[in-house]
Amino acid sequence: MELRVRALESILSEKGYLDPAALDAIVQAYETKIGPHNGARVVAKAWSDPAFRQALLDDASKAVGTLGHVSRVGDHLVAVENTPDRHNMVVCTLCSCYPWEMLGLPPVWYKAAPYRSRAVKDPRGVLADFGVSLPKETEIRVWDSTAETRFLVLPMRPAGTEGWSEEQLAELVTRDSMIGTGFPKTPGAPS
């Protein structure tokens, strides 16, 4: 694979289509500028600031755009809120659509057949694969990302975090809790 990829890169570069140094810069940008820390800051702010929470649920692109540190979000971000009665989970059954500006590049499991095939039919079974179980009466809402809309799950704020700063709260927010296949960390639990 490596040789084949290198050959294609040589062809594209020799034809004058791209500068290999620009490819280095793209990879570096993915490796350093995006990641779940962006989503975690948004979630922590929503937990701390009721007006921001409401703005996020009304128009996530606009709300996130007001935060200087995470502004790469584009126009089509939708935040969906977990409640005691309803749990949200995000999938892309057709390919790998994912809010990468908020969460980074998707993990392999998100792009692979087991998750894509089962999330829409047996979400409780999929959650069990993650060691997650929900009360049997909780509604599970699965969002299949079939267009350019991207979904960010706003998990429930863990108990025992009263008075915590946004920075402390952000430490509890996991990537999977923003996809809907996990929960935030529990305060004081070993990580």
């Binding site: 040589s10 062809i11 500068d19 940008a29 790469r72 057709l94 057949a113 039919k121």
Partner: protein
């Protein structure tokens, strides 16, 4: 197209296996493939829907047995060959031997990187009034285009409810084939689990898709 990429509801793929502390890339070449796809798309060689169509057009056994970035590489090669940006002779030689074709936005350089790290805009002015509104009952049409579509098989023929209206967006079904952006209204449509999977389905599940207006009819 009714390809193997359209996986919603299929059985037999086994358990989801998350990898602890997964790296962003497992091999260095994966990062080069990602960067080449982004760069060539931004230079104007193809749009995102065309790149999806070429990946889903891989033969089913290749699609299912290839890693994610291998699919990206194979799709990229096929797409660049089909659109004449590279030639078979180039691939055979491992170097550029055939003449280059001009790119719509010119050579992709370092100055273009910042721009592609912000997501593209897909909203467009509405060419006509929306046919549906939140609360309307709709049926996903029973259609089977052999070209690119974003209407998954598992909802076709089923009744759901419009929940959100996202405005007008570029229509993947036409833009993927270079047949124009053809903007269409986009809605979140929610289906009850039992509507999709029958009476034995978990009664607590609801599934939504984002559906372009041409995928829907009143129900």
């Amino acid at each position: 197209m009714n390809g193997v990429h359209d996986m919603g509801g299929m059985d037999g793929f086994g358990k989801v296996e998350p990898e602890p502390n997964e790296p962003m890339f497992h091999e260095e070449w994966e990062s080069r493939v990602l960067a080449m796809v982004r760069a060539m798309g931004a230079a104007g060689a193809f749009n995102i829907d065309a790149s999806r169509f070429y990946r889903e057009s891989l033969p089913p056994h290749v699609y299912l047995s290839s890693s994610y970035y291998k699919k990206w590489l194979l799709g990229l090669e096929d797409l660049l060959l089909a659109k004449g940006y590279i030639a078979r002779e180039d691939v055979a030689a491992g170097h550029a031997v055939a003449p280059a074709k001009s790119l719509k936005h010119g050579k992709f350089s370092i100055a273009d990187v910042e721009r592609i790290m912000v997501r593209g805009k897909f909203g467009r002015a509405a060419p006509a009034a929306a046919k549906f509104k939140a609360g309307d009952r709709v049926r996903a049409k029973n259609i089977h285009p052999t070209t690119h579509t974003r209407l998954p098989r598992y909802v076709r023929g089923h009744i759901g409810v419009i929940e959100r209206d996202h405005g007008c967006h570029v229509f993947p079904d036409t833009v993927a084939n270079d047949a124009g952006e053809n903007p269409q209204w986009l809605y979140t449509v929610v289906f009850d689990g039992r509507e999709l999977w029958g009476p034995d389905s978990d009664p607590t599940i609801k599934i939504s898709i984002d559906a372009f207006e041409p995928y829907l009819e009143p129900a």
